[in-house]
């Protein structure tokens, strides 16, 4: 090739570079300014909804609709709201048979019972009497009396609940009290994600206190980048890459009190009535947040061996577990599908 031809080729290449860079730059700037986010206090935590759209009005309306949906789910499922469906059911101390419930409550209970069975009861929505003993008060911490725990355990039994998802009817034995806190937030995230999709949002994120659901394609070609909180330090343990679906975390740092060198946290083992031991945090990725939420609790309670075995036999689920006790950080365990998609920090 002659010198002039080489020079011409170089100049054409340079021109292409300019065009490519300008296009890349313009695209990135547009996507940044198209990001809309807002926050609300719902379900006892802060919920954020983020959407990417050039239509600000559409984005605003979609975000508001997502918040409204989460508030609606909370009004149905919270046992701390006197008029909720769950509060109404829990008031029936004599049990009930074939009680009609909303489709939403039926779906949450149905997924909960499925994961209760898969985890041999490590996840259990009948733990309400136990949870009430562990109030995690401010200041004067006290352990629940052993006799109270034994009494509460007598009514903790997920098999005492039956759901008919065709008729949307619920049956429960006398003394059963339901607590959907370990799963309703995830379900609300799923519903909010569905609302965003229906509104025409192509890319978005719903984050309810760490239960995260994704809409559409991620901004990064490698996947959604999800930071995982370090269980004992400020900042992140690392970043996991997921293609979509949802991610949820259960950690012993979220609600706890220290006593005599022991950390008493809110993730209770339904078989003992005491906080589960041997794990600091579990992050689960699954298609639905309702499943990720419940599985994170189940895996936490089951511990490193049985917990990760549950994940490996659950289709579409992956997990990251930080084992350990007290302040002594243990191993970071990754399920087979997540091992290549975790960036430690």
């Amino acid at each position: 090739m002659s010198t002039s031809r080489k020079r011409l080729a170089l100049e054409v290449a340079a021109l292409l570079v300019v065009v490519a860079l300008i296009v890349t730059f313009a695209t990135r700037r547009r996507s940044d300014s198209d990001r809309h986010v807002d926050y609300r206090f719902l379900m006892g935590t802060v919920v954020s909804v983020t959407v990417l759209t050039p239509d600000a009005e559409l984005g605003r309306a979609a975000i508001d609709a997502a918040f409204d949906e989460i508030a609606r789910i909370e009004a149905l499922t919270s046992r701390y709201l006197q008029d909720s469906e769950i509060s109404r059911l829990n008031a029936r101390a004599d049990g009930f048979t074939g009680e009609r419930v909303s489709r939403e409550v039926a779906e949450v209970v149905s997924r909960s019972l499925a994961i209760a069975e898969a985890s041999s009861g490590a996840f259990d929505i009948t733990v309400a009497p136990l949870v009430d003993l562990w109030t995690f008060p401010e200041g004067d911490y006290a352990l629940p009396d052993e006799s109270y725990i034994r009494a509460a355990l007598r009514t903790v039994n997920w098999r005492a609940v039956q759901i008919d998802v065709v008729e949307n009817t619920l049956t429960a034995l006398p003394g059963t009290e339901l607590d959907l806190a370990g799963v309703a937030k995830g379900y609300a995230v799923d519903r909010a994600v569905a609302v965003l999709r229906r509104a025409g949002i192509a890319t978005g994120v719903v984050d309810a206190g760490g239960d995260v659901g994704f809409v559409g394609t991620p901004p990064d070609a490698n996947g959604w980048r999800v930071g995982v909180k370090h269980p004992r330090a400020d900042g992140l343990m690392g970043v996991v890459l997921v293609d979509g679906g949802s991610v949820a975390t259960s950690g012993d740092y979220q609600n706890y009190f220290p006593m005599d060198g022991v950390r008493y946290h809110h993730i209770l083992d339904p078989s003992t009535g005491y906080p589960a031991r041997g794990v600091m945090s579990v992050t689960v990725a699954a298609e639905l947040a309702v499943d990720a939420d419940a599985l994170a609790t189940a895996v936490f309670v089951l511990g490193p061996d049985e917990g990760m075995a549950l994940i490996e036999r659950t289709a579409g689920a992956e997990a990251l577990m930080v084992a350990g006790e007290g302040d002594s950080l243990g191993n970071v365990v990754l399920s087979s599908g997540l091992a290549a998609r975790f960036e430690a920090q």
């Binding site: 002039s4 100049e11 730059f25 401010e138 980048r225 999800v226 930071g227 400020d234 992140l236």
Partner: protein, 126 residues
């Protein structure tokens, strides 16, 4: 000489190279606009504070438990003190990149960085 002729003159090439350089600089710096341009602080009862993140200030936000103090210093925002039981919001440290937030759930305070620019993660599970 005909063999040395190109379609572009020296001046054309000069303009081209300047464009390449400018495009590279814009791409690397993000167009010269700083990231995290605004801090938004919200609290109970519709309280809202909006200001440039590089404008140092202390903001006191009243909530159901008392006063949360937020510091905006050196281009980052953090909760300096809080009446909440575990002070997790204080322990969350500072935020400086768009989309990141410090939240005090018990006292219902949210500190958010708003603006253009890339975020290191799309979400944080905690």
């Amino acid at each position: 000489m005909a063999g040395d002729r190109t379609l572009l003159t020296f001046a054309d090439r000069l303009v081209l190279y300047v464009l390449v350089g400018a495009a590279l600089v814009l791409f690397v710096t993000g167009g010269g606009q700083g990231y995290g341009v605004t801090v938004r602080i919200t609290g109970d009862g519709g309280f809202e504070y909006l200001a440039p993140l590089d404008s140092d200030t202390i903001v006191e936000v009243e909530g159901p438990l008392g006063t949360t103090v937020v510091g905006v210093v050196d281009g980052e925002a953090r909760v300096l003190s809080s009446p909440c039981p575990h002070e997790l919001c204080v322990k969350m440290g500072a935020v400086r990149t768009p989309g990141r937030a410090v939240v005090c759930v018990p006292n219902r305070v949210v500190v958010t960085v708003v603006g253009d620019g890339p975020t290191p993660t799309d979400a944080v599970t905690r």
